[in-house]
Amino acid sequence: MAETTLEGTQRSIPARIFMGIVERIVRLLGGPGMIKFLIRRFLAAIPVLFAIILVTFTLSHLLPGGPFNYSGENRKVPEYLVRQLEEKYGLHKPVLFNTWNDGYFPDGDDWKIITKRTETVTIGGSKEGGAQTVQREVWRIDLLDSQFWNYLWGVLKLDFGPSLNKALRDQNVRVSDEIATRLPVSMQVGIFAVILGFMLGIPLGVLAAVYHNTIVDYVAMFFAIVGQATPAIVLAPVLIIIFAVELGWVPVADQQNQWREGPELSLYYLQILALPVLTLATGMSATIARLTRASLLQVLHEDYVRTARAKGLRERVVIYVHALKNALIPVVTILGPLLAAVLTGTFVVELIFVIPGLGKVFVDSVQARDYTMIMGVSILYSVFLIIGNILVDIMYTWLDPRIRFD
């Protein structure tokens, strides 16, 4: 014990500052036990993610037709062209495993479990310098020289491959680039919707619980149930008709390419944001309001609330400081799935409001057999879902210090 403190004093000043920051972060996250828990959760997420990649990969490759001759396209692509394209993008390899039976051997006739091969790589080829070919030795495992393992190897290096969709393929668009341009668009709508949903839902639920069994409660809950019973495919057209077509307050769809240019504080941006956000937030706030009301009603019957009242605290303090903090725990539970659903659930909204986000990309990529894009978006969604669930666990400990994960 004494040794460690001695060491601590002997450390240089930057090191001490660094250790201080680390300590503060550890404490912010909820102590060393929490850190251990988080590491365990992230490690447990790896096999889940692997299995999801495997399932999605297998499923997407099971789809009839390929990216170069899928049946949705009327034009008939010549057979030799399809072969060439498949060779270019590595789709001629076996899907899951390259066994000795499959007949695909990278160089010649021998299939070996593990071997060293010389590979010819072309480097350069720009205007300044001519292309030069370099020979280098690489280890290869023939069994794993299949589409799936090559893709997985790419994913580990955060390389999600080129998009196979015709329009994007011709422009050499990488999947990660396409996601990087479209994800912020989806997130703009999603984040504002979550904020609005919570800002509407929690006060509504609190009001209904505080004025339990009065007209306020009934009205609030009626709106909540109606909001829950109205899906986006009904609400979005209705909102468009009322606010865009009839009243003309907002444009039906973005005409100034504002979505891609990003958030900016202007009237036009708020106008195109209003309807999609409102559509998403309505269902969300209805769910949140009902959850808040139910859990707050339960908490208000607990002993510690009675104690708080008995010691003469004002009703306002009792509800907002003592009761609400615990009542929010079940509400926070849905935040994780909600954050992920903000991305997945925007399919309809993006379709109806013509928002160039990720939702449409996914549906289109499935239709076009754009394998790499399907995989990229699925992995993104899964990662969001996993991170969302872990975030919920962290927020538990913030709201209720009794909850410990060690």
């Binding site: 009839p64 109606v226 019973a229 009904v234 057209p237 879902l385």
Partner: protein, 381 residues
Amino acid sequence: MAVAEGAKPVSLEEEARPSSPWLDAWRLFRRNKAAMVALVTIITIVFIAATAGLWTKLGLLDARTGAQARHTVNPVNVEPVDPFPDPGTCARDGQERNPYWCSWLSEEALLDVKNTYCFRPEPDPTQRQWCYVLGGDSNGKDWLTQTVYGAQVSLTVGFLGATMSLIVGLVYGVISGFYGGRVDMIMMRFVDFMYGIPYLVLVILLQVYFTEVARTYQDSGRGGFVGFVLDLNKSMGGLLFLFVALGVLSWIGMARLARGQVLSYREKEFVEAARAVGASNRRIIFVHLLPNVIGPLIVSETLAIPGYIFTEAFLSFIGLGVQPGTPSWGAMIQQVRERGGFFSNRHILLVPSVALVITALAFNFLGDGLRDALDPRLRGT
């Protein structure tokens, strides 16, 4: 003593009535007005949807598919049916259409507007008159008919989806919770894994796969099991594969709920007592645990039914739900969007939307009522 005497007749009357947990629940449920209205609404919708074929035979509804619809098949020398007929417009097969209100006008008024609006050709007794009560779509197909047949699809998806997920989730959760230990751990790890899969991503992938397979083998006349399944799916309008796609992930939440319920009841005194007198595992599960566990599950499934209906509507909306040509509320809304219905002919958007909302509302209220009745501790929450 006097108090007890006075209280006695009441309690006798109470006890005279047969009482069981389910009967008690029904008594509680009956007192809930909103839930009763919801129940009646659902029964009405189910009745109309179930007897749609009968209405069609009576001539109140259009024939099911577009090819058989009377007013869409036009004789050669008659101009085609106007797209988007207004609500209340009437048509006689192969003849000019008259607005419905023309029949209400007096003779003099009729003379005034006769040449412009109410041209009335000689009625042909062999052909029946057709009225678009709720208007029609871009092909002149009756919208009321499509809504009623769409209810068939929605309700089937809702009920069957809920039943399937209830059964699978119940069996899985009860096994996992009752046997505990390593079985529980392995089964719950699997559930955790399934929980990490994005729902819509998997459903969309499966639906595209199924629709493509169905389309590829549509005319090849395959025999055997695959052919049988494909034929069955085709005759169900694509619903079979929709169930499979929805069912793959929908039981996860139910399994977790069932397991939690079983865990909370497993260590209760009555189970211990049953075990002490030598009851078998099977008896404990079916006689002691199941009646206690199933209440919250039924409530949660009822509240989940709108979710299944919405998912079906959404899938049909993006063209991955029922087969094209099968009426579905989601497909109807999509048709409106495609044909510029946001700007004109809005009545045809309203009909499927209202149908969706009313159905979802009814199931929500029903679920709330069921929860109050089955689990009185949660009353009013």
